[in-house]
């Protein structure tokens, strides 16, 4: 039995710049459950940061409701909002560590006026530095840390008040791929070990793929697609979602190969260039060898990209099929019957 930690209903946010109204969020409805890693993906300017800032009231929604643990935070007084904010951790793309404070001072900052004793603060910070794997950086200044280390300190600072949820606004966008992986791994660990709910804002589908269980696609202030990550990846409904997914798969590059007339995808007369996409468990069938045996066609695998997502295979193959036209037709017919998506990319 899971419970909702954040729920938005008909959230609308409009900015007025020079007397002109820009609507940035238009009727956003979503529900985030306790303990999940929830991705919100969208291109720059889609309103992702604005949306996540509405969650802790840094930005005030003009219309609609935002429930945090059942309490509507829209219209709360600033003192009540501050109490809510202490239950919501937040990290940023630019880390936002205080340059004039040490790692210790940064992590201790949210504890100001918390009433904790020196020893209690000390103990808590030692715990957190252990948790984010930076035990020996306690007295370093932010300027002495790498990007990944800075983000770890920011995570420790965000967790110091034992929040229920962590909001990550492009938390890995300023990091190199390897550091990104290590931060995502840390987030996963926090999710597992502390049961921390995590909201991940990103424009990189690879981040969603790496750690999220659910994803919402935000476009021009609206959620255009939502679902668990596997079903969104395996069966995207919107063009935008598809283009995000293509960035994570080598299969997307076949279009460029066709356009540049690469010899890899050059066809002889009668040949077909196919993209075979697997969904759910179909990948385990010996499809290629079966059709070549049964229908006497030759299947030349140009390249493939199959990954395991949420424990299920996802991806496909780029194949050149050659043989008698009737044999090819029958092979295609068979493949379609197996609920495998086939797309003819090019004819020879």
């Amino acid at each position: 039995m899971t419970s909702e930690i954040i729920r938005t209903e008909h959230v609308v946010k409009t900015f007025t710049v020079d007397k002109k109204a820009h609507s940035v969020l238009k009727d956003v409805n979503l529900s985030i459950e306790t303990g999940e890693i929830f991705g919100i993906i969208g291109y720059s300017g889609a309103g992702k940061s604005t949306l996540v800032r509405c969650f802790n009231g840094i930005e005030k929604a003009n219309e609609g409701s935002i429930f945090f643990e059942g309490q509507n935070i829209v219209g709360l007084k600033s003192r009540e909002l501050r109490a809510i904010r202490r239950k919501i951790g937040m990290i940023f793309q630019q880390f936002n560590l205080m340059p004039s404070r040490t790692v210790f001072g940064n992590i201790a900052l949210p504890l100001k006026h918390s009433g904790l004793s020196k020893q209690q603060i000390n103990k808590r910070i030692t715990e957190l530095l252990e948790l984010v794997d930076l035990p020996d950086k306690r007295d370093a200044y932010p300027s002495q840390l790498s990007g990944g280390q800075k983000q770890r300190v920011a995570i420790a600072r965000a967790l110091v008040n034992h929040p229920k949820i962590l909001l990550c606004d492009e938390a890995t966008s300023a990091l190199d791929p390897k550091t990104t992986k290590s931060i995502l791994y840390l987030l996963k660990k926090l999710n597992k070990e502390l049961g921390l709910t995590i909201v991940v804002i990103t424009h990189e589908m690879s981040v969603v793929k790496e750690i999220c269980q659910k994803v919402s696609v935000l476009d021009k202030g609206k959620i255009i697609e939502h679902g668990d990550v596997y079903s969104v990846f395996s069966n995207p409904q919107q063009e935008l979602t598809r283009s995000f997914i293509e960035t994570t798969s080598a299969l997307g590059s076949v279009k460029a190969l066709i356009e540049t007339q690469s010899p890899v995808v050059q066809l002889q007369p009668g040949q077909l260039l196919l993209k075979i996409s697997y969904t759910t468990s179909s990948v385990s069938e010996p499809l290629i060898s079966y059709i070549s045996r049964t229908f006497h066609v030759d299947a030349n695998i140009v390249f493939g990209d199959i990954q395991i997502l949420s424990g299920n295979p996802l991806g496909g193959l780029i194949v050149i099929l050659s043989g008698q036209k009737s044999a090819i037709d029958r092979a295609l017919e068979y493949v379609k019957q197996r609920h495998v998506a086939v797309e003819v990319l090019n004819h020879g």
Binding site: I84, R85, M98, P99, P110
Partner: protein
């Protein structure tokens, strides 16, 4: 020693006591008006930065009020400001002459400039830091103290240095209007009695003041940068 002094400063050596007094007076003017103006400017700078558009306590009425007042005062040349303030100075300080009489016009003269400097120093604090302070659940007061002032400290020291140097310049002007201090000394002996050594020695004293302030400022500013 006395002979050397007499040779180098034939005129000034006749009025050594007055010369020393003028140095003390300048120090008093700079110190007292500087400290009071620093406190006022810090408050006004904080008001400006917090009430500006998008600030933590955004309030366009308060912002515009202070903004316009500062512009108004900054547009009045200092020497005219001193004259205009004389009745008010008498009311507040009891006199419009002497060190006591210079403090009020000095404070009124430097605070608008100082406030702008502080405002610009505080606006150098990254908005992201403010945002993360808000996200942590800090109150506006805590953000001012723990983020704006703490993170802005090295910029505040830098602009304070600039301001104190300007203030030293103003003390020389205010001296002319019956205030005392090095400026007054230079005008009375150097200019009016054409004793060049008085002018030069005044310049050297001011130069030393400015250098000390500059060196101190740079040193503290470096110390507070991490």
């Amino acid at each position: 020693m006395d002979n050397v002094l007499q040779f180098l400063l034939p005129n000034v050596s006749q009025v050594m006591d007055e010369f020393y007094l003028s140095i003390i007076q300048t120090l008093q003017m700079v110190f007292v008006s500087g400290v009071i103006s620093f406190v006022l400017s810090l408050i006004i700078g904080i008001v400006l930065i917090s009430t500006r558009k998008g600030g933590i306590l955004a309030n366009s009425f308060v912002f515009n009020l202070f903004d316009k007042l500062i512009n108004l005062f900054r547009s009045i040349p200092f020497i005219i400001l001193i004259a205009a303030l004389i009745p008010l100075t008498r009311l507040i300080s009891g006199t419009a002459v002497g060190v006591q009489g210079t403090l009020f016009p000095l404070i009124v003269g430097i605070t608008p400039f100082f406030s702008r400097q502080i405002e610009s120093a505080l606006s150098e604090v990254d908005d992201g830091l403010i945002e993360s302070g808000i996200a942590m659940g800090l109150s506006s007061f805590q953000i001012i103290v723990s983020v704006y002032l703490k993170e802005g400290i090295s910029s505040i020291v830098r602009v304070t240095t600039i301001t104190v140097i300007s203030l030293i310049g103003l003390t020389a002007i205010v001296g002319v209007v019956g205030g005392g201090g090095i400026g007054d000394f230079a005008i009375r002996y150097g200019y009016q009695q054409n004793q060049l050594d008085a002018t030069y020695v005044s310049i050297i004293v001011l130069l030393i003041f400015v250098s000390i302030v500059q060196i101190l400022g740079t040193f503290i500013s470096k110390k507070t940068t991490h």
